[in-house]
């Protein structure tokens, strides 16, 4: 490899439109070429501009930090092309890792936010990986908007993980760990926050690159900046009817500095943000390109399939591998002891107690595992069953034992005794498993000169930390490659399936790919919490809810949601039994069942009081108030925005016509505030002889300014389907300390025949900062459905799943 590295960088101060916060950028641009003094045709064809913007979490950075920007770019010849790539040193990695990785980088690998090619095509980097949430489209739209790129000629690639070491005293993001944090952008996908967190950063990155192109054009044409405008990847000089494609300006733009102010667009001028774009990368999906984690390989790898301990917190004692070793292709059989982050309590599994069968091929590993006999230490939960777990919860609630008051406003006891009417109900819900369609897999090469992992994961920095913990290396020395996720839903947050590949590769000193079978996935999940909950509402003589008392049995619920902050006397208690089961984040974690309980109970209250369920909600939400939000993911909860989505959906779904529905038909409504966004649904059902048909879902969503309307709709549609599936059938049972369900034959999920054929999504027009959409449709859809069932049949669903309750 031969090359000359030249980079230009300068400090740029920009003031974000409306925000007022000052951010700083370093823009490094370079010409790529074997020899800059002799511009050849090849060079002209392959000039590449790389705009690189550092993202400072929160406040500005004065760029006196530890980066040496000259190291950001690596220029050279790869496969006959002239290429420019970002060295991993630019990602804050150590020099040795950078020089190692330089060998694996190719010109095809995107370095950072923008790459403009001489043919005027543009590659844009997405900070977070696609897992169905649409960020591979929405996040590049933000860059393309400010860049005035021709969206139809942009393609998207994943930005490589950028990690940095925090300086002493420097505050990191919520993903910071052991003194390391994201270097450029928030690259984790979870909590519906990718768009919310990266909106300004990405727009600014696009604006910085555009500024250079316009200045380059101005000096070439000898006209003032004000005489130029940009559109569809061209700079136009209208006065003389001239235009220059961006691709022709790369060389000049690269020579400029960035010591000028950059202004972001007035949102009124947006063309791309707020439009409807189909997903990027659709062709790869429909033609079966190997884009997912499970499709990835590292040359020379072996395969591992594991027998994990079926008992919660159990681990292997001994095993007989004679038959397994007889399977042709089996190389080794290795015991892995259970390891978890904090034994006891809400721990996270690092390694499942398991026996790994390592083989030349995946099929041999599968057969080898089938032939294995293992004796397990069954741990302390071997007697657990769904019944015993529920009984434990009931007894804690009955005896007010082991609970804690999570939130207390006013005096609930006094308000309940002063109330004219007290309404009570108990709700229960089953445990759900994630069942991402892509079973987990990871391929790791822990040879000391590689330290590489390729996998689907929601938080790539966790892969680096995982390698550091197992091998003792610096997280900055790990080459992490994230692949597209076949669904995440929170399950691709834990490190367990990554650790297995890393541990085995570290042990065997060769690349290892671990593949999970579906049975492994369903029996070894970080499940969504099941639980039991008791609710009491006190209503005064004027029909106002004056007391709200919620006793929640189970782990990890979002307590501070509606009606917290609205009902003056509010109490939430939480009872958390010691449990063998491992719980984690599952689409709308902590909200998904809270929405069901609260919005169903509110419906019961309305029925009891003889008022319209929508009117009761609006009476509580209006007049609008902005309540400081004490939970995660938002600063304020605006009751006016909640009321607005309810009114919009009621209008669109003909709520007023509800009473005129024929017998057996029902219409239900519910809303919920999740991670900063507001969503309400109206569901229509028909119940005939106990058979439920979901006729229609009408949804209204307020996610601030919608970036990609088509993508927002997809999330609302998908979230509604997902919630309905969970409500209809999904249930994990426990028997003898093990999960009973193993695969989709017993863990029933909705198929197209049960899915509503009619979904209508209405997006509130908003000027607010964009917030997420991935998780907010699910929490309100379940109560909208069960409220509709009540309206149709008079039967109140207080326990999930609905299963055959309507046939009883």
């Amino acid at each position: 490899m031969q090359g000359v590295s030249t980079a230009f960088g300068a400090l740029l101060m920009s003031r974000g439109a409306g925000g007022g916060a000052v951010r700083s950028f370093a823009l490094s641009c370079c010409l790529s070429g074997a020899d800059r003094s002799r511009p050849t045709d090849a060079l002209r064809q392959k000039l590449i501009l790389i705009g690189y913007a550092t993202f400072q979490m929160g406040e500005r950075d004065d760029m006196t930090g530890s980066y040496d920007r000259r190291n950001f770019l690596k220029i050279g010849m790869v496969g006959g092309s002239l290429t420019a790539t970002l060295t991993l040193a630019g990602c804050g990695r150590t020099e040795s890792a950078a020089s190692r990785s330089a060998a694996t980088l190719t010109g095809e690998q995107l370095s950072v936010f923008v790459r403009i090619n001489s043919d005027n095509s543009i590659v844009i980097g997405a900070p977070t990986m696609e897992m169905g949430q649409g960020t591979f489209t929405s996040m590049p739209m933000m860059i393309a908007e400010e860049l005035d790129a021709d969206w139809s000629r942009t393609t998207v690639e994943l930005m490589p993980l950028g990690l940095k070491k925090l300086k002493p005293g420097e505050e990191g993001s919520d993903a910071a760990k052991n003194g390391y944090d994201y270097a450029y952008a928030y690259q984790g996908a979870g909590g519906s926050q990718s768009v919310r967190r990266n909106y300004m950063t990405l727009r600014e990155a696009g604006a910085v690159v555009r500024s250079r192109l316009v200045r380059a054009a101005a000096s070439r044409l000898g006209v003032p900046l004000s005489a130029l405008r940009t559109q569809d990847s061209y700079v136009f000089h209208d006065a003389e009817d001239r235009s220059i494609p961006y691709g022709d300006l790369i060389e000049d733009a690269a020579a400029l500095s960035d010591d000028v102010a950059v202004t972001l667009k007035n949102p009124a001028d947006f063309k791309i943000i707020g439009s409807s774009s189909p997903i990027k990368g659709a062709r790869e999906i429909v033609t079966g390109e190997p884009v997912f984690g499970i499709d990835q390989e590292i040359p020379g790898m072996v395969h591992a399939v594991l027998a994990r301990c079926p008992y919660f917190e159990g681990t292997p004692v001994s095993f007989d591998a004679t038959a397994a070793r007889d399977v042709p292709g089996v190389i080794d059989v290795i015991q892995i002891d259970r390891k978890w982050s904090e034994p006891g309590g809400d721990s996270e599994v690092m390694l499942h107690g398991a026996v790994a069968v390592v083989a030349e091929s995946l099929w041999a590993a599968i057969k080898g595992r089938r032939a294995l006999t293992v004796e397990w230490d069954q741990g302390e939960f071997a007697e657990d069953s769904t019944e015993s777990i529920n009984a434990k919860l009931q007894s804690m609630l009955d005896n007010d034992e082991g609970g804690s008051e999570v939130r207390v406003d006013g005096d609930v006891t006094a308000a309940l005794s002063a109330a004219e009417t007290v309404i009570e109900a108990e709700y229960g819900f089953s445990v759900w498993t994630h069942a991402c369609m892509e079973p987990h897999s990871a391929v790791a090469d822990m040879r000391e000169d590689r330290r590489k992992v390729i996998a689907s994961h929601q938080f790539p920095e966790r892969i680096a930390h995982c390698v550091a913990e197992i091998t003792g290396c610096d997280p900055l020395d790990v080459a992490v490659e994230t692949a597209r996720l076949g669904g995440g839903f929170g399950r691709k947050f834990p490190p367990d399936y990554i650790s297995e590949a890393v541990w085995l590769s570290h042990e065997l000193k060769r690349p290892v790919k671990v593949t999970w079978m579906r049975e492994d996935d369903i029996r070894h999940d970080a499940y969504n919490r099941g639980g039991v909950s008791r609710l009491r509402a006190g209503v005064d003589g004027e029909g106002r809810i004056t007391a709200w008392d919620h006793a929640i049995g189970g782990h990890g619920f979002h307590i501070h949601v509606f009606p917290a902050g609205i009902v003056p006397n509010f109490r939430a208690r939480n009872y958390r039994p010691r449990n063998g089961m491992w719980f984690g984040a599952w689409r709308g974690p902590g909200h998904n069942t809270m929405g069901f309980m609260i919005q169903s109970f509110l419906d019961e209250t309305a029925t009891e009081l003889g008022v319209d369920p929508l009117d009761l909600r609006l009476q509580m939400l209006e007049p609008a108030q902005r309540i400081p939000y004490q939970g995660w993911g938002a600063e304020f909860y605006d009751t006016g925005r909640d009321a607005a989505v309810l009114k919009l959906v009621a209008d669109k779904a003909d709520w007023a016509g509800r009473d005129a529905l024929p017998d057996g038909y029902g219409r239900g409504i519910a809303s919920h505030f999740t991670f900063g966004s507001y969503c309400a649904h109206v569901v229509d059902v028909k119940v005939e002889d106990g058979a439920l048909e979901i006729l229609r879902v009408v949804s209204a969503i307020d996610c601030g300014r919608a970036v990609n309307r088509l993508g927002v709709m997809a999330q609302i549609e998908g979230g509604a389907m997902d919630g309905i599936s969970a409500a209809l059938h999904q249930a994990i049972h426990v028997q003898n300390g093990q999960v009973v369900e193993k695969n989709f034959d017993t863990y029933r999920m909705m198929r197209i025949d049960e899915a509503p054929k009619d979904i209508e999504v209405h997006i509130v027009e908003s000027e607010e900062h964009p917030t997420g959409t991935g998780e907010l449709s699910l929490p309100p859809v379940i109560p909208a459905l069960t409220n509709a069932i009540f309206h149709a049949t008079g039967k109140r669903i207080r326990n999930l799943p609905i299963a055959d309750q309507l046939r009883a």
């Binding site: 099929w363 041999a364 389907m721 989709f744 198929r751």
Partner: protein
């Protein structure tokens, strides 16, 4: 020795006859578009065409593939021209994570070859593939759209 064709290419296999076609395709033929989801014919992610009909390749041992013609998602398009079902999937913006979609597309392509104008009821009865992302609403629209594209192209 088992002989068969994949995407019209002649192939042979003399490994473990119990090897499911799915693992042969993914691990030996390098065709990763066919997906693993359950291994027990429940989810449809592994759907291929076996002698012209949709079949779940995770339960088909290689011993049963002798003499068969297999079509996978990689062979569905006609060169650069996408199959009507693939085209419709893009037009209707159906995929979310995309993992189930190869199977959904192969199942739909088979349905349309037998039933050029499927009703909603036909779709309900024939398309039984799982999608955790819940893209069913757009899949249904895409199936109807695919039928239209097919008719337009044939006209």
């Amino acid at each position: 020795m088992v002989k068969f064709t994949i995407n019209q290419k002649e192939m042979s296999f003399d490994g473990d006859p119990e090897t499911p076609l799915l693992w042969y395709l993914r691990e030996e033929a390098g065709l990763k578009g066919t997906k693993f989801g359950c291994g027990i014919a429940q989810c449809g992610a592994c759907t291929v065409h076996f002698n012209g009909r949709a079949f779940r390749s995770c339960i088909l041992p290689m011993s049963a593939v002798d003499g068969a013609d297999i079509l996978t998602i990689e062979g569905l398009a006609d060169g650069d021209e996408l199959h009507p079902v693939q085209q419709a999937w893009i037009e209707e913006d159906a995929p979310q994570c995309g993992y189930c979609q190869a199977g959904q597309i192969m199942a739909t392509a088979d349905l349309l070859s037998r039933n050029p104008v499927p009703s909603d009821e036909d779709i309900d009865a024939n398309i039984t593939n799982l999608c955790r992302c819940g893209s069913y609403y757009r899949i249904r629209k895409a199936i109807h759209r695919a039928a239209e594209i097919k008719r337009e192209r044939e006209a």
